[in-house]
């Protein structure tokens, strides 16, 4: 099979389309850091407003001499909100994200032993920051509540003249979480973070399939529209050589995208690392990066093999692009599922359906590489390659010169 001229021609053609190549490789390199920057700084561009209305403002001395006041809680809340970038007001003036109302009698009820103190959190449902603000408020209120509870327990112990260790009353059960791998061996904290990262990496595959699909569409439909295909089809080139030559060349685009995507992801994590002082890059092991690049290549080849038979029979760019979108959407579903679901543990009927798609194996390749499970990695790689080869076989089978020529443009 004389595949060389096809690859030679396609790569020459591709290498001279500098603008497309630059757009393909620069897209992830620019978009990923921009995404990181926007997630970090966009929050700063939208300062939240919290109102703390303290209508009580009294101090009460607990029996043991300790003074408890709603002002303490107000101070704790104010400090935490200011620290996290919120504007804190103590009177209702215009729009707010969250309001905390401390009613009269709050401190008195807080110090009694036959009732509880109540306060109200007013949440603006239209605000995107209200959820975060509520979380901060609840954390502070829980901490304050716990502190008051400890003081009350100590006071009661003194009254009863017994020695009390407050946690034995307030949280008599203590728990400890051990991290283990699927096989039961001890797992590290780094591996936990890497698992989360691997889900993100798998999801990022959604961005890399599009450029190659656009390229193969042009490579086939473009040849038809530029009237170069008909001559080519009468040459001694076999249909396998034409299909494989175009696929191999287009997958080169996939490799470029994969490398650019990996570089973009590294930049994506550098910026938050600088902003928050957490070195996320340390979790990017060479094996994880290598697995990601392999998964990118597999995903790209799978998309190309899926779209090839359709593109061959498509008369126009429009038809080819509509079908391309369908393929990309199917891939996106798998990549999206992998964010929330452990594909390996879902019910067999659903799992095997997903395993028909090579994308599922690409996702699994990234996930198993976290634990250095080379056997599973190779198994998923082999399954994906086998499925891709079947798809290529279908593309070659469907390659019919007459139908190609007469497909409507």
């Amino acid at each position: 099979m004389n595949i060389y001229p096809v690859i030679w021609k396609e790569l020459k053609d591709m290498s001279r389309d500098i603008r497309t190549l630059a757009a393909i490789s620069l897209m992830p390199l620019l978009m990923m850091p921009l995404l990181a920057l926007s997630s970090i700084y966009a929050q700063g561009l939208q300062p939240g407003t919290v109102i703390i209305m303290d209508e009580d403002r009294i101090e009460i001395q607990l029996g043991n001499g300790t003074i408890i006041s709603s002002a303490n809680l107000t101070t704790w809340l104010k400090n935490e909100f200011v620290k996290t970038g919120y504007k804190v007001l103590n009177e209702e003036t215009g729009e707010f994200d969250l309001e905390i109302k401390i009613p009269k009698g709050f401190t008195k009820n807080l110090t009694l032993f036959n009732t509880t103190a109540e306060l109200t959190i007013v949440k603006n449902v239209a605000s995107s920051k209200s959820q975060n603000a509520e979380g901060i408020a609840r954390n502070v209120i829980n901490a304050f509540s716990h502190t008051v509870a400890e003081l009350k327990v100590k006071y009661l112990g003194r009254l009863a003249q017994i020695s009390i260790y407050p946690p034995s009353v307030l949280s008599p059960i203590s728990t400890y979480t051990e991290l283990v791998r699927p096989g039961g061996e001890e797992a590290t904290y780094e591996e936990t973070v890497q698992i989360a990262l691997s889900k993100l990496l798998a999801f990022s595959l959604v961005f890399v399939t599009t450029p190659s699909i656009a390229y193969i569409t042009d490579s086939v439909v473009g040849e038809k529209e530029r009237k170069t295909f008909e001559s080519l089809l009468t040459t001694p080139l076999s249909r396998s050589a034409i299909v494989l030559g175009k696929l191999v060349s287009a997958s080169f685009i996939g490799l470029v995208t994969g490398l650019a995507d990996a570089a973009g992801l590294i930049l994506f994590f550098i910026l938050p690392s600088i902003a928050y002082g957490v070195n996320l890059l340390a979790f990017f092991t060479p094996s994880l990066i290598l697995a990601h690049i392999t998964a990118v290549y597999v995903s790209v080849l799978a998309s190309l093999a899926l779209i090839m038979p359709i593109v061959i029979r498509s008369g126009s760019y429009r038809t080819a692009q509509v079908f391309s979108l369908i393929i990309i959407s199917a891939a996106s579903i798998v990549f999206f599922i992998s964010l929330y679901v452990d594909i390996n543990q879902i019910v067999p009927a659903a799992k095997y359906v997903l395993y028909i798609l090579p994308y599922t194996h690409a996702v699994q390749m990234i996930k198993v590489s976290v634990f250095g499970d080379l056997t599973s990695f190779l198994l998923h790689l082999s399954a994906a390659v086998a499925e891709i080869l079947i798809l290529i076989g279908v593309a070659i089978k469907l390659f019919n010169e007459e139908k190609i020529i007469y497909s409507r443009t």
Partner: protein
């Protein structure tokens, strides 16, 4: 009998849905001749040439090209023929030279022979070296056609199939293309089958002519013989007379 001809089509029928493109068409082309196919739009010229070039399979009838039966033996036929479709394009991001080399490599692989064949193509195209090394996107329509024809002829095929080789070209470019074809025939003695709307071109280039109308050959022979037989001053008048007044 069939293997004596470079092209042998017998009672060929081809339908596209409800439209009958070829209606029992029969055609014989002897080796070493330049054969012209004349007919109006939709007469079936391109379908006939596509069948001869192995791209399209007829619904019925017999097709032998260079003594090989189609479609069964198309893999044997393809290395010996070349086909220039109507309005054939070339690869715009490749240079003229690379376009020639690409086709040469399809037949000869990455070998010195391929380079030699491409050089011969450059000679046929007779474009200055400076132009040959420019990207084809910068070429005029005439230059594109010269490269397309050169890549068809440089392979010295036993049979070259040219669908409207001068269509859309100005008179200078068309003249150059005809000169290329004549020079090639003189040098190689290959068989050429070409279609055209231009009767003068057909008279100038072809040894034998077939008039095709509504998917059938309505007359066949040497141009002068047809003029004599049907009493026309030129092939245009002969064709109009045979096709029923241009209906």
């Amino acid at each position: 009998m069939r293997i004596e001809y470079a092209v042998y089509l017998d009672k060929v029928v081809k339908d596209f849905g409800k439209v009958r493109a070829l209606d029992g068409l029969s055609l014989r082309v002897r080796p070493g001749t330049v054969f012209g196919l004349i007919g109006p739009n939709g007469a079936g010229k391109t379908t006939t040439l596509r069948i001869i070039s192995t791209l399209v399979t007829p619904d019925s009838g017999e097709v032998y090209i260079l003594g090989r039966k189609l479609p069964e033996e198309k893999d044997h036929v393809r290395p010996q023929i070349t086909y220039l479709p109507e309005d054939a394009g070339i690869y715009h991001r490749l240079t003229g030279w690379e376009n020639l080399l690409f086709y040469a490599m399809i037949y000869y692989g990455k070998t010195p022979e391929a380079e030699e064949v491409a050089k011969y193509g450059a000679q046929i195209a007779s474009l200055p070296e400076k132009d040959l090394n420019r990207k084809a996107s910068e070429y005029s329509k005439g230059m594109i056609r010269r490269i397309a024809i050169a890549r068809t002829l440089m392979l010295r095929p036993q049979l070259a199939i040219l669908d409207e080789p001068t269509s859309g070209l100005d008179i200078f470019s068309a003249y150059r293309v005809r000169k290329m074809i004549k020079g090639f025939v003189k040098e190689t003695g290959s068989t050429i089958i070409l279609s055209s709307h231009n009767m003068l071109e057909i008279e100038d280039l072809c040894d034998e002519v077939a008039l095709i109308h509504k998917g059938k050959i309505v007359a066949e022979g040497m141009p002068q013989e047809l003029l004599r037989r049907y009493g026309g001053r030129n092939l245009e008048e002969v064709f109009i007379a045979l096709a029923g007044g241009g209906e």
